[in-house]
């Protein structure tokens, strides 16, 4: 059992999958000798050579398009966006080519696009984005967003082995901030489409994913101390397809829901989760469904502004108290 960070977990998953299957290769900007802007691919160039750890020109549309093409003929490319923000320039390849190819032609497109997302690092409007909801609205794509080293590793393995295009949103704030003991050389695949009950509880459900799992844990602790509340936390892990069963069963247990995500509020994943519950869990609900998310603005740069903008334990606590005292 070695303690590894969220970032190391990603590297390990890449390494192990590349060792396991020679069809797996990586492409992206500065991922070779440099090891990627965040050093996620560090050491892989040395181990697997430049044909399998491919530096590319600055061309996100081509990076994704080339990945799609390679996947069509049996390869399993894993493309890195240097920041999730830049996925916007490769957007059309994802929603147009990758997402629709199997439906129209019956040809699988097993690509993974890794996108370092999220704020809290004073990166401003173009190095902080959480764009997952765009892709959840496009049929044909799968979307995952791990919150722990174990999930980071297991979901990336699942993504690479999946026969569909998978967007893998890795939260860069978590890269070096969280650690976990994982069995060495484990080959645990975390299935896509299954949420994780982080913490059972009786009074209220926090439904969340990514970085906000940790904010929810903090909020839960405070709420336990200060309000004697037993908070349940569900980590969605996969955003497309959503684990509806897990969502409805937490609602059944607590009857009160707060949905928390780091992305902008309006038309985010929280909207879809709320809609699911308000259709299928209506009778179980004892209070309005609240959402806690980033403000509906671009991510501001100055720390004081960014703090105001981001969701955090305090905002979660306020929302929980609202649904509890409803």
């Amino acid at each position: 059992m070695a303690e590894i960070t969220y970032l190391q977990a990603i590297t390990e998953a890449l390494r192990e999958e590349m060792q396991r299957d020679e069809k797996v290769f990586l492409l992206g900007e500065d991922i070779g000798i440099y090891g990627g802007a965040f050093k996620v691919t560090k050491g892989l160039y040395e181990e697997f050579g430049q044909a399998r750890v491919m530096d590319t020109p600055i061309s996100e549309s081509a990076i994704i398009g080339v990945a799609v093409g390679a996947a069509l003929v049996g390869m399993r490319p894993v493309a890195e966006m240097q920041f999730a923000d830049f996925i916007t320039v490769g957007f059309s390849q994802l929603v147009t080519n990758a997402a629709t190819m199997h439906y129209r032609y019956g040809i699988p497109v097993p690509i993974v696009v890794r996108a370092p997302s999220g704020g809290g690092i004073h990166g401003g409007a173009f190095h902080s984005k959480n764009p997952e909801a765009w892709f959840v609205h496009q049929p044909g794509l799968k979307v995952v967003a791990p919150s722990t080293p174990a999930d980071a590793k297991g979901l990336l393995k699942a993504a690479i082995r999946d026969n569909n295009p998978v967007l893998y949103f890795e939260n860069k704030f978590l890269y070096r901030r969280i650690k976990e003991k994982l069995p060495e050389g484990d080959d645990v695949v975390v299935p896509i489409g299954k949420a994780r009950l982080v913490k059972p509880g009786r009074h209220v459900s926090l439904i969340t994913y990514g970085s906000m799992v940790h904010a929810c844990l903090q909020a839960a602790e405070i709420l336990n101390e200060q309000d004697q509340l037993d908070v349940e936390i569900l980590d969605l892990r996969t955003l497309q397809p959503l684990d509806k069963e897990a969502v409805l069963s937490t609602v059944e247990r607590t009857s009160r829901v707060v949905i928390v995500h780091e992305a902008n509020l309006t038309a985010g994943i929280g909207a879809e989760v709320a809609a699911l519950i308000s259709d299928n869990g209506f009778e179980m609900l004892d209070a309005p469904i609240k959402r806690v998310a980033a403000l509906d603005t671009p991510t501001p740069y100055a720390p004081v502004l960014e703090e105001y903008f981001m969701p955090n334990p305090e905002k979660i606590i306020v929302a929980v108290r609202q649904v509890i005292h409803f």
Binding site: F25, A51, M54, T56, P57, S59, S61, A62, I64, G65, V66, A67, V68, G69, A70, A71, L72, V73, G74, M75, P77, S92, Q93, T96, N97, T100, H102, Y103, R104, Y105, G106, I107, P108, V109, P110, P139, G140, K142, N163, N164
Partner: protein, 325 residues
């Protein structure tokens, strides 16, 4: 400069002729079906650019990958696709290659190494480059060929895809079908460089500008580019100049097209032009022509019958197949 055409064998010449006829006759049938209200979606034909698309398709080997776009019915046929499959596809039948899910000739056939397109112009370029690169990684000597219109050549993916291919020396050939119009927009409103093949220099790859109505010249040049790609010399850009001899699609009367230009190009009709050459070379006479055309006409007739009698897809199929297992 086009490559020398004396390398084109008689067999290939006759195949080109048959395919040009077949392309035209199949497209005529599709238009007729459209006019009868049996085809619902848009119909774009290759009239005027057939020499380019047919020759490109024929120049590929069996193991090579073809990425055709909207006017490339000829390339589908040249790569071995049947008229029946094409008609089934247009008619949206349940036994078509896309089971009614996609339109027009948006169709793939993995048995023939044909990958269909999306409508977004240029979007297939990076994808085709990806296939080319993957085949290289797999140590197979396979070339990938894709088309783009002179209009579509101004989209970002053209640039990103071609540059990517050049940097990675992908065995890839991009054929610009310059038919001088993009829908209603004349070429000079799309670009103002002398020749689109000049763009090759900006990627460090060879660029060719050739007469796209001359099937033999196109074949020889594309063949050379394909074999260069196969031999590790990297990608090429080939601009084939022709003229769109009909409206953009079946519902467009092309009122905006330069009529002088049209007249000029009527004399360069790719099909008649090849017929003339082959007659002169003694490869074709009236009898043979009739035999070729009759055979093809019959195939189209039969395919039409079968296609029209083929089942529609079942409604609930709409919900299936979004994700692979």
């Amino acid at each position: 400069m086009p490559a020398k055409t004396d390398v084109v064998s008689n067999e290939i010449k006759l195949q080109l002729y048959s395919l040009l006829y077949k392309t035209r006759a199949t497209e005529d049938r599709i238009i007729a079906l459209y006019r009868q209200g049996r085809i619902m979606g848009g119909v774009y034909t290759g009239r005027g650019v057939e020499a380019t698309t047919v020759a490109a398709g024929l120049a590929l080997e069996k193991q090579d990958y073809l990425f055709p776009i909207h006017r490339d019915l000829g390339a589908h046929l040249a790569k071995g696709q049947s008229v029946l499959n094409i008609l089934l596809q247009y008619l949206g039948r349940g036994n078509s290659l896309t089971k009614g899910k996609d339109s027009g000739i948006h169709m793939s056939d993995t048995t023939l190494n044909i990958i269909g397109n999306v409508s977004h112009l240029g979007a297939m370029i990076p994808v085709a480059v990806g296939v080319a690169m993957a085949k290289k990684m797999q140590n197979e000597k396979v070339v990938t060929l894709n088309f783009i219109g002179e209009g579509g050549s101004n989209i970002g993916d053209f640039h990103e895809g071609l540059n990517f291919a050049a940097v990675h020396k992908a065995p890839f050939v991009l054929v610009i079908e310059n038919n001088q119009y993009a829908y209603s927009t004349p070429a000079h409103k799309e670009y103002v460089c002398n020749r689109l093949s000049d763009r090759a220099q900006g990627y460090g790859i060879p660029g060719y500008h050739i007469d796209g109505t001359d099937a033999l010249g196109v074949y020889a040049t594309i063949k050379k580019a394909i074999e260069d790609a196969r031999n590790g010399k990297g990608p090429s850009l080939i601009e084939c100049l022709s003229m769109r001899m009909v409206g953009h699609s079946a519902h467009d009367d092309a009122f905006y097209v330069d009529k002088e230009q049209m007249k000029k190009y009527e004399k360069k009709d790719p099909f008649l032009r090849l017929e003339q050459v082959l007659r002169k070379e003694g490869l074709l006479d009236d009898k043979q022509i009739k035999r070729i055309q009759d055979t093809i006409d019959k195939e189209i007739e039969q395919a039409t019958d079968i296609a029209l009698n083929s089942p529609l897809p079942e409604a609930h199929w709409a919900a299936e197949g979004v994700y692979a297992e």
